[in-house]
């Protein structure tokens, strides 16, 4: 631990889990953690791993491909929108939204790819699009 920390970018080792997650999102990356003791993927980001208790579990960046575990179309006065649970290939699950198709056309088992939304006034956040590439879809 020598030298002066760089000031032109955040020091990821000292960021809170939430801040580090957002820093990855800003780069278009869906980040998660992995328990060094068990190898189990962890999401949402934490300062301590569930089960093993390992502090500050190390981070990885997802390849961005997942499968719809379950889905619903929420019917509201403001229109319909999708809410879905996505199982990522790396072994973690997150709540998100599938876009790029009708909200009630999303299907369990459908393969999806992550995309970062940075355009609606929120902190950047991940959404998903159906995977249309046939090779991906057949896997």
């Amino acid at each position: 631990m020598t030298g002066v920390p760089p000031t032109d970018r955040p020091d990821l080792s000292t960021l809170s889990p939430r801040a580090r997650f957002l820093a990855h999102c800003a780069k278009g990356e869906l980040a998660f953690q992995r328990d060094p003791a068990t190898g189990r993927a962890i999401f949402y980001p934490r300062m301590a791993a569930p089960g093993s208790g390992a502090e500050h579990p190390p981070w990885e960046v997802s390849a961005g491909i997942g499968t719809v575990y379950s889905t619903t179309c929420v019917r509201s006065r403001d229109g319909d929108h999708n809410v879905a649970l996505i199982d990522m290939e790396e072994g973690f699950r997150l709540l998100s939204r599938v876009e790029g198709t009708a909200p009630d056309a999303v299907r369990i088992g459908q393969r999806v790819r992550v995309r970062m939304r940075t355009d609606d006034g929120e902190d950047p956040y991940p959404v998903f699009d159906p995977v249309t590439d046939l090779r991906d879809g057949a896997r």
Partner: protein, 384 residues
């Protein structure tokens, strides 16, 4: 320890207030206090004898303090465990332990809500989840819709089978004085109702009402001297599996597998010995999962199990005999009412909806997003 606690305490008083709607300006504490004094009076006790206070709520930050102040109680033991709608069954577990240990002698468990009359002013002190906030998740319904979708995908459960839960509840409510919705309901009407979150429509969802409930628990020796037939607590089980729906390991299996097993082990009973069931029906899919996870049918077979009137009046397994959260009333958290209805059935005072000869009753409630599960099994004096 199970042998020590089985039947060692009994519910000796129950009270309700405020279903379906309180008068303008009434507060959650107004409702809770009214139910509490009714429960204490039902037991033939006085307020000054209450020395254990248990409460939880969505609107009250410190509910045991609010209730104690309101009624002039000065408890020596209090517990505001908040694990969602089933908190009051968890309170039973904590109260029986406190009673058995001599830490209190008269335990009052209470809840009150103005969810309906409060309308737009209704607030919850639940914290926001930054990983879910951007997705506009409308309260619990989206989570339970995804549970239903997954169960349908995995086991072929149908919307018609979900609807059977609502239809049976309405038939029971038709026999229940004071139930909010009593007119008959058909499967076709449930399926045609406004969609809320696919595959759930508005008739798959619990009502939004005001309301309050309270029960009084004492040691069995004290219960024998009181006015009402004691309803003994034979077994209780709690379980916690997650907080947010994204962390639920398998959407088709709840931790009722654990809470139920714990309650049955303490009670020394099996599902086949239960005469009447109250399974918190915030959404129609919920009792289907609980019937499976509590051992009344095999995993995946809950949809077929509830069809054909089995759980309806006259059916083989009477369930949610007051109409449940779907038709009786649902003031935000319903768990206390699963206890109250069980007590009424085991006292034999349920009128037109009375299950003949009911000796053993089971109450079960989840909390959050199937996050916590709490199960309680009760019996008449004949079951000791």
């Amino acid at each position: 320890m199970s042998g020590v606690l089985r039947g060692a305490t009994a519910i000796v008083g129950v009270g309700e207030a405020g279903i379906p709607v309180l008068s303008e300006g009434a507060t959650p504490v107004d409702a809770m206090a009214l139910a509490a004094v009714r429960a204490v009076a039902d037991a033939g006790l006085s307020l000054k004898e209450v020395d254990g206070v248990f409460a939880a709520g969505l609107q009250l930050f410190m509910p045991t303090l609010s209730l104690s102040e309101y009624l002039g109680l000065t408890p020596r033991y209090s517990d505001s465990t908040q694990v969602g709608g089933g908190a009051f069954l968890a309170h039973l577990n904590h109260a029986q332990a406190a009673l058995a240990a001599g830490l209190c002698d008269v335990a009052l468990i209470a809840y009150g809500s103005t969810q309906r009359s409060g309308g737009a002013k209704f607030v919850t002190h639940s914290e926001p989840n930054p990983y879910e906030r951007p997705y506009r998740v409308p309260g619990p319904v989206a989570a339970y819709a995804m549970i239903a979708a997954r169960h349908m995908h995995r086991y072929g459960t149908t919307p018609e089978q979900l609807a059977e839960v609502a239809v049976a509840a309405r038939a029971w409510a038709g026999l229940t004085p004071g139930a909010t919705m009593r007119e008959p309901l058909t499967v076709a009407e449930v399926l045609a109702a406004r969609r809320v979150a696919d595959p759930l429509g508005v008739r798959d969802c619990c009502l939004v009402t005001d309301g309050a409930g309270a029960v009084v628990l004492v040691r069995a020796d004290r219960a024998r001297d009181l006015a009402r037939p004691p309803v003994h607590l034979l077994g209780v089980g709690e379980a916690v599996s997650h907080r947010s729906i994204a962390q639920m390991p398998d959407l088709t299996v709840t931790a009722a597998t654990q809470s139920g097993a714990r309650a049955f082990a303490m009670a020394g009973l099996a599902p086949a010995e239960v005469d009447v069931l109250q399974l918190y029906d915030a959404f129609t899919v919920n009792p289907i999962l609980f019937l499976e996870d509590l051992g009344f049918c095999a995993k995946g077979e809950g949809g077929g199990f509830v069809a054909g009137g089995r759980i309806a009046p006259g059916g083989a397994l009477p369930m949610n005999t007051n109409g449940g959260g779907l038709s009786y009333g649902h003031p935000g958290m319903y768990g206390i009412f699963t206890i109250i209805e069980t007590v009424r059935q085991l006292r034999g005072e349920a009128g037109d909806r009375q299950v003949a000869g009911a000796q053993v009753g089971l109450a079960h409630a989840p909390g959050g997003f199937m996050s916590s599960q709490s199960t309680a099994i009760f019996g008449t004096a004949a079951t000791l």
